[in-house]
């Protein structure tokens, strides 16, 4: 207890009488920080490489479309239709969610930082919602931006820009709607699994395996049952199928079967021959259930 040391400390402390912005601001700060973390800002080069690499991959279809469209002198050339976009980048989205979900909640749990967050003026559900929100916002860079780029490219490449935009501007609604719904659904699923599976490496594999294994299993079941009544239940439990159905409905594409789509996803979705709104309701129910379960998990921690 030497006084000289004490005096060094004394230079700092002052009482604070300024504003305290409360819960909503704290949650916003957490979302901001988490989005930054997702893209590796303030972290090592490996984290940045993974996030930006996957984001770049998600842009490739859009860039290819624009480049080919500019080179090939065919009117209204379509390499990837907007409704095909999610099917094309599906695996990239799954990889991104798997890597980032465990990053977003796994570190806080592993380092025990969670207890510091919970000692702040936020509730436990705020933490979960902020993490899901942050992952969904990060996902928009992969789901929304390439589509917007494609839209802008097509507009600029059109012979008569004014005519093109007046014909196509309503496309923006499904582009935004599909991107928001798919991002929210995958984010809530990813955070839920990362919350349930404590080991980070296992969480990563679980999200990856969960989405893709369920996808493949569902494909097989639908094939075997010839899209019978039982198949509907199975498909409704598969996040990727529900996402596929919802995006196709938003772009007005169900039950058409596209010859360009090699994944067969929309064949499964189309084969069920459900009314369009069912897919939209299903994806919203998915978001609600995944979020509620994730919150429930965190209510019981600490």
């Amino acid at each position: 207890m030497t006084d000289s040391r004490g005096e060094i400390y004394d230079l700092g402390y002052r009482n604070y009488d300024g504003p305290r912005l409360g819960r909503a601001y704290a949650v916003r700060s957490l979302v901001q920080m988490s989005v930054r973390n997702t893209f590796g800002l303030g972290r090592g080069p490996m984290a940045k490489f993974l996030a930006f690499g996957l984001t770049l991959l998600a842009f490739i279809p859009a860039i290819a479309q624009l480049v080919i469209g500019a080179v090939v002198p065919v009117e209204d050339f379509t390499f990837i239709a907007p409704e095909e976009f999610f099917g094309t980048i599906q695996v990239i989205l799954v990889l991104f969610v798997a890597a980032m979900a465990s990053e977003l909640v796994g570190n806080d749990r592993k380092n025990n930082t969670l207890v510091l967050y919970f000692s702040r003026p936020i509730e436990k559900e705020d933490y979960v919602l902020a993490k899901i929100g942050a992952l969904a916002i990060a996902l928009l860079a992969l789901t929304l931006l390439p589509q917007v780029l494609l839209f802008l490219g097509n507009w600029l490449g059109a012979g008569d820009g004014t005519e093109w935009i007046s014909d196509n501007w309503t496309e923006l609604f499904p582009i935004v709607g599909a991107a928001v719904l798919v991002s929210a659904q995958l984010a809530s699923f990813g955070i839920l699994v990362a919350a349930l599976v404590t080991k980070r490496a296992f969480a990563l594999v679980s999200v990856l395996g969960g989405l893709l294994v369920i996808w493949i299993a569902t494909e097989i079941v639908v094939e075997l049952t010839d899209a019978g009544a039982g198949a509907i239940t199975v498909v409704m439990l598969s996040p990727l199928h529900v996402a596929r159905g919802a995006t196709l409905v938003l772009f007005g594409a169900v039950p058409e079967v596209s010859p360009f789509d090699g994944s067969g996803g929309d064949m499964t979705v189309g084969a069920l021959d459900l009314p369009g709104f069912v897919w939209i309701v299903a994806i919203i129910v998915h978001i609600a259930i995944f979020t509620a379960l994730a919150i429930r998990k965190y209510q019981r921690s600490v």
């Binding site: 230079l11 604070y16 570190n107 510091l116």
Partner: protein, 326 residues
Amino acid sequence: MVVAPAMLSVVSGADSGVATSVELVSLMGLTKQYPGVMALNGLTTTVAPGVIGLIGANGSGKSTLMKILLGLIPATSGSARVFGLDPTTDGLKIRELIGYMPENDCLPTDMSATHFVMHMAQMSGLPREQARERTAEIMRHVGLFEERYRHIGGYSTGMKQRVKLAQALVHDPKLLFLDEPTNGLDPNGRDDMLALIQRTGHVFGVSVIMSSHLLGEIESVCDSLVVIDGGMLVQSGPVTDFTGLVGVLAVEVDRDSEALAARLVSMGYEAAVEGRLVAVEVGTSADVDAQRITGIVIGVVAELGLPLVSLTRRRASLTDIFRGPQ
């Protein structure tokens, strides 16, 4: 050391503007039942602002109590008030006014200390600019100003403890919960940490509730103590009530400790043999008394011709308190 009465009056003066009521924390039959374990058992006490030591062995319910007061976990029965607010319903309001330093590691490793502390300031509601300023000030206050841009992963245990304290202090709380703040620190680090806590509590008017399993370690900076054992209250009150019970002089001699003890007992002192040690009750920890007895003991050792190895004033161990009158 005994906290001088003058110091106490300074404390109450500094605190007068902090809490509207005299009560900082009050517990009424607070009980927490985990499956198979009674963590807290009908705890009832009231604590006034100041620096408060929460004393108990590991597993006695100290951390559980802090978590209930923060509103992080619900009590099974009974109730608690912090600043007169109920943690189960006013948790947000309470957490805005409280800083919490948990016992265990709780820091991210791949982030700079200043970045993390600023983030935590924002999580407590401080606007960005104010958060940045307060972070710089607080890093200086805890003595980490020079190292603040380094990643926390490369910090020593002592530095990590300071970052934990910094994140608990950065939003200028009215009350600090420090769970075993001296854990894992070497003697120098421990003294620095305690000096820092004392300054924070006594000079800046932030009330502190600090837990420890070693009474002797923290009593010197505390105004009052709450002792719990097995989730039950053992004793609660100003620190002066405790020191009177527990002053012990530990005399270490190479041989014949029994003879020394017997001689001291025959002279009317309370003395007991503990191996090569003879524990002599100083009766009260008032310095005059202790010095007088120390002089007498040295006299007896010399008279018996015993090789004296060491002579230390021992702070009360918990067991001493548990044996003492309640």
